[in-house]
């Protein structure tokens, strides 16, 4: 925990140009820790001279930030219009049933975080799933199943 605090401090020191750097600092911290620990907001408030209430408001306003740790594997279903008319809702539905969580939630074992995202911009390949920075196109409920199983198998192999 102590190491994390030091690291967060370093991120913030880099951004203390003053005005408007709060969001950039939080983005970097989110990227590194996959969520915003409360310490991050408190330290950001102190180092960047921003009221804690503002830092907290920012952390809860933007979808990119999470105050709760996200799952090890993120599964994002693109809900862009093009994907929608090609059936992304079915894909999402399938994943929600299969993983037992609703979009925006993380599985109990913190393995998967299921999310929707608004248009990844690869519309010719819709419906698209972005799983851990890998894009998979032309998804169907069946393929979504296979994708989940593949991720689980890969984890098992690592152990």
């Amino acid at each position: 925990m102590h190491d994390n605090v030091i690291e967060i401090g370093q991120f913030l020191d880099r951004e203390s140009e003053g005005e408007g750097s709060l969001i950039t600092a939080l983005e970097n911290i989110q990227s590194r820790f996959h969520y915003l620990p409360p310490e991050a907001l408190i330290m950001a408030s102190e180092k960047l001279g921003v009221p804690l209430s503002q830092a907290y408001a920012v952390a809860t306003f933007y979808q990119a930030f999470s105050l709760k740790p996200r799952g090890r594997h993120s599964v994002c279903v693109c809900m862009g219009t093009a994907c929608h008319v090609r059936g992304s809702a079915h894909v999402l539905n399938r994943l929600e049933t299969e993983l037992g969580v609703k979009s925006g939630e993380t599985t109990r074992d913190r393995f998967f975080s299921l999310n929707t995202v608004n248009c990844l911009g690869a519309c010719a390949l819709g419906p698209i799933i972005l799983a851990d920075n890998e894009y998979s196109g032309h998804m169907t409920p069946q393929k979504a199943d296979m994708l989940i199983r593949r991720i689980q198998r890969n984890e098992e192999r690592k152990l």
Partner: protein, 241 residues
């Protein structure tokens, strides 16, 4: 000086003023919820909409609290379009505030007849932001903020726990139009922190013993009398910004 007409009445007003200020100074009533003369206009409730009428363009609705007075504007504060829009805004507020007497009364005045959309949970917070803005602009503590987005917006101190920045001045309580923030909440939260606070506890100048007894905290300068209810209501002159 700027010249415009409001409800066909010619009005003269200094530069840099809003339509709402022009109305109030000339005795024209425009309902508001999120406006307060002691605070910067916020423009959230949309209740103060008035109609701008043009010779060669379509009429439009603008919020009086933020719209600046300009030469030659023709304003209608009570036209059919205005009334219809205000009625609908109130109806939407009632979706969650259906157990709040203040909103109900206002709705009745504006002719709302039925609430066609209701949320499951009644909530008297109308997200007018007065408490947050007062804490920021008058008290200068910024202990609370509006968190979340869209329908999950709520007023809260950071992490939803008692704020260590809050000084228990009670401004948010006084300024809240629906009374959902109550004094006990403020002080009970504050009490938790007194034991870890460096502040010297003293008796509250305004309310004496009735609120939190010996645990009231020194309010900030300027003195607390400015924050009394009566003064807030009549503070147009004092707090013009």
């Amino acid at each position: 000086m700027i010249e415009l007409t409001i409800d066909n009445k010619p009005i003269e007003i200094a530069e840099g003023r809003t339509l709402l200020e022009a109305c109030r100074e000339n005795g024209i009533h425009v309902p508001t919820l999120c406006y307060h003369p002691a605070l910067k206009p916020y423009g959230a409730c949309r209740l103060c909409v008035v109609e701008l009428v043009f010779k060669d363009a379509e009429a439009c609705l603008v919020p009086a609290c933020t719209y600046p007075c300009k030469d030659g504007l023709a304003v209608r504060t009570n036209s059919k379009a205005v009334k219809k829009n205000r009625r609908l805004t109130l109806e939407l507020l009632l979706a969650s505030a259906y157990e709040t007497p203040e909103i109900f009364t206002l709705a009745e005045e504006l002719g709302v007849e039925e609430i066609r959309f209701k949320l499951h949970q009644a909530d008297s917070c109308i997200l007018c932001g007065l408490c947050v803005r007062a804490c920021s602009e008058i008290v200068g503590k910024e202990a609370i903020s509006i968190t979340g987005r869209g329908m999950s917006k709520e007023v809260s101190p950071p992490f939803k726990v008692a704020s260590s920045t809050c000084i228990g001045c009670g401004t948010c309580v006084l300024i809240c139009p629906t009374g959902i923030i109550n004094l006990e909440d403020v002080y009970s939260r504050r009490i938790e922190h007194v034991f870890s606070s460096d502040d010297e506890p003293i008796l509250c100048k305004l309310c004496g013993e009735s609120s939190a007894g010996p645990y009231a905290i020194q309010p900030p300068e300027p003195p607390l009398e400015i924050l009394s209810e009566d003064t807030l209501k009549n503070s147009d002159e004092l707090y013009r910004r």
